[in-house]
Symmetry: C2
Subunit: 247 residues, 2 copies
């Protein structure tokens, strides 16, 4: 496989996820930004506008990225098969996630593509991403901007991130990870099983949830579970559902 | 001067020059892209459209970059006081200029700002830059793109370059050049004087120009004249206009 094909395959594994986008022109600009840098996997979560004539006009000759986009009804669905997810946001200090600039994140994110799809999530133009949506993502991605005017257009933000990925890929040999990363769905499975056990044992009360589940989710997200660890946790949790042995 | 102020002053010396732009929306997108990254010096060469309501709407809260833009009638005028100029183009092989990616060019370009303004020149949406316009610029800037679809929107191209400059500035200490760079106008002055001498001496015939002047311009552009060298060349050329001494 030559270098161009390897770059193509790597970038094809980078998914752009747009949450509740409201302007068709932005959908088109994102599609064009993606294709100019070799990205093509686009997922729309609850779009607030249609893929209409304005969207297709702005997409120019990248319309197939837009018409090929998958539309889903939840961010969890968009991320299910991914092995790494980044939330692009200008927020930072009030969240416990690790936060990286595109330059810092790019080599790590590209290295993960050998294990499966990776996703970069962009919120709606008006509201950005909710705390619940941010909590589903593993890292934050902060594009460095002018502190007096950080208002990057959605298409411009995707353009910058896609450019950074392509340039990083061209400039560096990837450092491959040494472990098998769990998918988003596998990690959610562990969290679901943990929640059930804690509920059964009375440690967790769904009627008075407080902040327990978000905190656990963040812990697992930050840790970045490996497949083997998913199996270990599954074993531990299955064991905890059995009555304690009396020796 | 703190780090934020130094960054602000450095980026203020990076000029964006748009040649014969035809879409008002692109003017607005460029202004917004510039301001998000801290750039504010915009020069329009023979714009083919007005700074109208559409332009201002797309500029959003960066309208002052657009209303403060200088409008000039030639690229030479836009570059006159600059100490370095880069032409953003997807062309490469057919031109003898040194060509850099934004990542390669950014540290060199930023280092030159201590000597005076630097410019990045973007051609019209339809025609790009002419050979004559390219010949006025010192280096080419090639944004790496998907070879199957290199059609970067004007606003997107400015966004990528401005992002690269801001990120490079945040990540690296600048390596300052050790010489005093000549301005574009000083270099043009040398070329003008050289042309006069060569014409007087019959070496150059303006009726049959062939490729002599473009070749000389490229030579001087590639070399990147220092102020001291401008003085030396001025001396040499003044000397050549006098009759040869008979000893």
């Amino acid at each position: 496989m030559n270098e161009g094909m390897m770059m193509q395959e790597t970038l094809a594994r980078v998914r752009i996820v747009l949450v509740e986008t409201s302007h068709p022109g932005n959908l088109g600009a994102v599609a064009r930004a993606m294709k100019t840098m070799g990205l093509r996997d686009l997922v729309l979560v609850n779009p607030r506008c249609a893929v209409d004539a304005e969207a297709l006009a702005r997409a120019s000759n990248a319309a197939e990225v837009l018409t090929g986009a998958r539309i889903v009804s939840s961010l969890a669905e968009a991320l299910a098969d991914t092995v790494l997810s980044l939330a692009c946001t200008s927020r930072r200090r009030d969240l416990p996630h690790p936060a990286y600039t595109p330059r810092q994140a790019a080599p790590r994110l590209l290295a993960q593509t050998v294990q499966g799809p990776v996703a970069i999530v962009f919120g709606s133009e008006t509201y950005g991403l909710s705390n619940e949506q941010l909590a589903l993502c593993r890292w934050l991605l902060n594009i460095p901007t002018n502190p007096d005017y950080a208002s990057l257009n959605l298409g411009a933000a995707v353009q910058v991130v896609a450019y950074e990925l392509r340039t990083t890929l061209a400039d560096h040999a990837l450092v491959l990870p040494e472990f098998a990363a769990a998918t988003h769905a596998e990690i959610e499975g562990v969290l679901g099983a943990l929640t059930e056990v804690l509920t059964e044992r009375g440690f967790y009360n769904p009627e008075r949830p407080q902040r327990l589940l978000p905190k656990l989710r963040r812990f697992f997200a930050r840790a970045g579970l490996e497949k083997e660890e998913v199996a270990i946790w599954r074993g531990i949790l299955a064991n905890m559902r059995q009555p304690a042995r009396k020796d």
